[in-house]
């Protein structure tokens, strides 16, 4: 496999705003090279040997530091890790040389069936140990530290004994992984399940968070649905400000997956995160 001629190879992801790379923006991103700090791609979309998507990522990769964000490993599945899928992640890492690699605190398959969704875990000691063991196994195999993201949730298990933030902190401490704090997911889960978002942020250890996600959500009756289909709402921006105050200026991604707007709209949304990050750096200086 030819080595990529890139400017951004293995440069650390800067503490700036980045955008999620989506197929509809491939051409525009390459043609316009907008001033975003980095890009994040869904690992599974770039598993293949050839095709338009991998060619686009190779070209975009030459201009931006890259984060690969997996949605399919289901590292909390009691049935174990799908080794074939993990091998494909490893090949994608070798090919695209990301500076960050992340996945989710969730499960996704049982009894041989894959649900292709980020399913919630019960917050128990057993689940901490299983997720931490499988995250550590994946990190060893991939040769890189992972960031693990909190997911949006619509239900909570009756067996949960820990707060979500205690669960995530324990997984990070046990496995050595970092955390990816998705502020929109936190907002959605806190609304749906009565989680105290401020306690959550204050309960995550400083230094464990390596990246932040921002996105929009939808409302369906009393339930918030994490659809990544609109602008980031004001409440999420406020929580983001609180998170940046606690964790410092961190690489921050703006995601948009449904009703995807023009690239310029996404870039404009990322500028707002950059302004908040700039203020945080100013305060720290």
């Amino acid at each position: 496999m030819p080595r990529l001629e890139t400017r951004g190879v293995r440069e650390p992801i800067p503490a700036r705003a980045g955008i999620g790379l989506r197929a509809v923006h491939h051409d525009a991103l390459i043609a316009e090279s907008p001033p975003v700090g980095w890009i994040e791609a869904h690992t599974e979309n770039y598993f293949h040997e050839g095709g338009a998507a991998v060619r686009a990522l190779e070209r975009a990769r030459a201009n931006y530091p890259l984060s690969l964000h997996g949605v399919g490993l289901g590292l909390g599945s009691a049935d174990g890790i799908d080794r074939e899928h993990l091998s494909r992640v490893k090949r994608a890492i070798a090919r695209f040389e990301p500076s960050l690699v992340s996945e989710h605190a969730c499960w996704g398959h049982a009894g041989g069936e894959f649900f292709n969704d980020l399913l919630p875990l019960p917050y128990t000691e057993e689940a901490v140990l299983l997720l931490a063991r499988q995250v550590a196994e994946a990190q060893d195999f991939l040769g890189t530290r992972l960031l693990i993201e909190n997911v949006s949730a619509y239900v909570t298990f009756e067996h949960s004994r820990l707060h979500e933030w205690e669960f995530l902190a324990a997984v990070a401490a046990t496995s050595g992984c970092g955390l990816l704090l998705d502020v929109n997911n936190l907002y959605v889960s806190s609304h749906n399940l009565g989680i105290d978002a401020h306690s959550f942020i204050n309960g995550i250890p400083i230094g464990s968070v390596g990246e932040i996600h921002l996105a929009g959500h939808a409302r369906n009756g009393d339930v918030l649905i994490d659809d990544h289909g609109s602008q980031v709402c004001e409440e999420v921006w406020r929580l983001y400000g609180q998170a940046v105050k606690r964790f410092g200026a961190l690489p921050t991604l703006v995601e948009w997956d449904t009703n995807v707007p023009a690239l310029a709209t996404l870039v404009a949304e990322s500028r707002r995160a950059d302004l908040i990050l700039g203020e945080a750096r100013g305060l720290a200086a």
Binding site: E44, E49, A52, S77, E113, F114, N116, T124, T156, H159
Partner: protein, 252 residues
Amino acid sequence: MASLREMQNAFAAALRDPSAPCPVRPAGNLSIYRNNTQHSFRTALEGSFPVVRKRVGDDYFRQLCAHYRARYPSRSGDLHWTGRDFPAFLLEHLHGGEYAWLADLARLEWSREQASITRIESALPAEVLAKFTPDQLEHLVFSLQPSLALLASDFPIFTVWLANQLIDAPPVGQSIGAESGMVRLRIDGLEVRKLAPGPFSYLSALRAGAPLGEAISSAGLDQDGLVSALGFVFAEGLVCALKDGRSEKREI
């Protein structure tokens, strides 16, 4: 207390069957996960089989998705593979009926899907043939582009697929009969092309690793047919490597 595995199995059962018990609150919100998983599965299938969907309509396609998912649930965390067994499912599901041709149409669309993620090798020009002696030519074995798929059907699936690239495509009469053709990835996109029986046989034989002489005779090509068939594979950039089939050593 239930084990993690038991809880996940109960959750999985509740995703398949709304009446199955699951230890979560509020239980009514399980429908969100049920809808999400159905939606991801169906969206992946719609992306892979746009012409099948167009021909049967949204409502029937949804029904097919549900039956297919019950019979062939997703076996991968990568949604790309969702449609892998859809042609086989349609063959079982529609066998012998008036819509049996949809299984072959699905086979064509899945070939497109697979071709779309295949690497493109650099192609050899026809001039390389000059490097071989006339005696060697009939023994030449061709490596063709990895994305090339050759399909034959008792139904006019190529005519149907090509006609349905128009927005308001009229139905294609099945009386056209059997067709064969090829699917491949070019640098500017996917190509779907109908092939006459002679060139199809010749390409299929080359694809199967038969030497050129054998491919020509199995396809029943005469001298003119040979020249045009050879011209076609080179002009289309389908030839990635050549070797004399009598030796293991790759010549070019």
